[in-house]
């Protein structure tokens, strides 16, 4: 805004141009207003009219300001992503940084993903068996467990777990770097902070989310096998036969696309929130909370959208 018309003013320092319209909050016509409120009998025409106009125009002003602010925030959110993508594609390339993030987001999450995947598979095995048993079709257990995991629970639960584990850490780390001016320190050294901090994280997210989801799916299928076959006595052959016969490449692909989209959304949101943490005591904690909440909500909303598109 200042950049558009400010060229002249910058060069010559004209006072007129310098007194830009700041975002100030207009104060109600105070003295008159107060005296009117305290003393209704002493009402005079013009001050009370002023007050009335204030109460009419101010909510409109407020709404307008909110709308502009929110649209602007959405714009910043989008531009942030475009800049991160652009920076990821332009030199200097820093594979070292991507590898480091792959370790933090991907490798370090394997244990957790395995654990949750196994637990989810066991629950699916138990619930699936109980439901199918009522229809006498226990042999379909493998198919049910695999479809539910691959198409739905694998990508979603993995994304939620990685958000909780790596996304929150990402937001907190970038937030503390922003608050303690480490981000500015990068800019000062003529290093683009988005290229150095954000792009590697988004790339690492894109790579590691599908891989972790795959691990989740496979471990989950064996978890279901352990319960269904080991505990409930479903014939072992029918469990895997069902999976091989009924799980199509399309099912696998739709799970893969979901994981890809979630990887993008989660790293983008967490980086954005951390990067824009406010410089105050609660800035980091607020950024982290918002990052986790917004990521989780986005994952679930996008999941519905993607399911309806990919079905």
């Amino acid at each position: 805004m200042a950049g558009a018309g400010g060229g002249e003013g910058r060069r010559h320092g004209h006072k007129a141009l310098c007194s830009l319209r700041g975002r100030t909050w207009s104060v109600p016509p105070r003295n008159e207003a107060n005296s009117n409120l305290n003393n209704p009998s002493g009402m005079r025409g013009s001050p009370s009219l002023k007050l009335l106009m204030y109460w009419i125009t101010e909510p409109v002003r407020w709404l307008g300001a909110q709308a502009i602010e929110n649209v602007a925030a959405l714009g910043r959110f989008g531009l942030f992503f475009i800049s991160a993508l652009f920076n990821a594609l332009s030199p200097p390339y820093k594979p070292r940084l991507v590898v480091r993030q792959l370790r933090l987001i991907g490798a370090d999450s394997i244990f957790l993903i395995t654990l949750i995947g196994w637990a989810t598979g066991m629950v699916l095995g138990l619930q699936g068996y109980n439901t199918l048993h009522r229809f006498g079709s226990e042999t379909a257990l493998g198919t049910v467990v695999a479809l539910v995991l691959v198409r739905e629970l694998g990508p979603v639960l993995s994304a939620l777990m990685i958000t909780a584990r790596a996304g929150s850490a990402m937001a907190a780390e970038l937030g503390s770097m922003q608050v303690t001016e480490q981000v500015d320190a990068l800019s000062v050294m003529a290093i683009d902070p988005v290229q150095y901090l954000v792009s590697p994280r988004i790339l690492a997210g894109l790579i590691s989310f599908p891989l972790l989801t795959a691990i989740f799916d496979v471990v989950g299928i064996f978890g279901g096998y352990a319960i269904g076959v080991g505990l409930m006595g479903v014939p072992p052959g029918s469990y895997f036969r069902g999976i091989v016969d009924n799980l199509t490449p399309h099912d696998v692909a739709s799970g893969f696309y979901k994981a890809l989209v979630f990887g993008l959304a989660v790293t983008w949101v967490c980086c954005y929130k951390g990067y824009h943490a406010e410089r105050m005591a609660t800035g980091i904690s607020r950024a982290t909370t918002e990052a986790v909440v917004l990521s989780s909500v986005l994952v679930l909303l996008w999941d519905y959208f993607l399911t309806s598109v990919l079905l």
């Binding site: 950049g3 003013g9 910058r10 310098c18 975002r23 503390s176 480490q182 320190a185 050294m189």
Partner: protein
């Protein structure tokens, strides 16, 4: 009424400009009518002065008067609402990002709180600009890092993390990082705040020595009056967002400005009290 008095005072003490051209030296950074607002708060209000080449320019003023904000405008970390910042004859406010990066390569900056990368050791922090921006060999980088760490008295602390050393040591490590690429212009935000007087003196002399050895231009923000005047070639006194005084140390000290005098004496509230009183009346 109080404000009228202070306006009259301001006219008397508006500027004592020693134009750098007068003593024949070139200008490293010229600040022209720099204005910056945060929301409704005007932090910098038409600040103008010029930092001569190869000299130390010190910015002093009560805390919260916008010294850090001013310093961050010089390498365009913050964007001004209006005004120009001319570095070696080029206006940084008119630059695109690649040009800006070229200019930023001339700068070394020490942040008020150090801004060391806390995921790296002290030595890695100091080496970082060389690792990222040059093609020097590992040995050469290690050698330069040792050199700079020794210069700030941190020989033994290279392998520690920033969280493991004291605030004063962090400041010195950050100073080493600012100096590692031997910049042409050094921006220092309160390099001695939080240090004991002996250390502060040592850092002042380190800054002076480095500046003279490499012929740097430095802009130094400091709270340490009057000690910092020892190493200052020019002093700018910021007050209420304006350059109230600017000149050599001699000129500043003989200016007889009551506000500056009370600032030197450590009584910053003087006019503040009057101002608050008049505000209360207006309510």
């Amino acid at each position: 009424m109080a404000s009228k008095i202070s306006i009259a005072g301001e006219e008397n003490f508006a500027r004592i400009m020693t134009s750098p051209a007068q003593d024949g030296s070139a200008v490293a950074i010229e600040i022209r009518d720099l204005t910056r607002r945060f929301g409704a708060q005007i932090v910098l209000d038409h600040v103008s002065f010029a930092c001569p080449h190869g000299k130390i320019t010190t910015v002093v003023g009560p805390s919260g008067c916008g010294k850090t904000v001013l310093l961050k405008h010089l390498n365009f970390l913050l964007r001004p609402n209006c005004g120009a910042i001319i570095v070696d004859g080029e206006d940084v406010t008119q630059m695109g990002s690649s040009e800006l990066n070229r200019v930023r390569d001339k700068f070394g900056m020490l942040f008020q709180a150090g801004a060391l990368f806390d995921s790296m050791t002290v030595a890695e922090n100091v080496a970082f600009p060389l690792v990222e921006k040059t093609n020097l060999s590992r040995q050469e980088i290690a050698q330069r890092v040792q050199e700079k760490l020794a210069a700030v008295g941190l020989e033994g602390a290279g392998n520690k993390f920033p969280s493991e050393i004291s605030g004063g040591m962090q400041k010195r490590a950050a100073l080493a990082r600012a100096l590692i690429r031997e910049p042409e212009i050094l921006l220092l935000d309160e390099p001695t705040t939080g240090l004991d007087p002996t250390r502060a003196g040592a850092i002042h002399h380190l800054i002076r020595r480095t500046q003279q050895r490499f012929g740097l231009s430095a802009v130094l923000v400091s709270h340490d009056v009057p000690q910092v005047f020892e190493i200052s070639d020019r002093v700018a006194f910021l007050y209420k967002g304006r350059t109230r005084l600017f000149g050599t140390v001699q000129e500043i000290l003989s200016a007889n400005d009551p506000v500056f005098k009370s600032f030197l004496a450590g009584e910053e509230i003087d006019e503040e009290g009057l101002q608050a009183g008049s505000n209360a009346l207006a309510m």
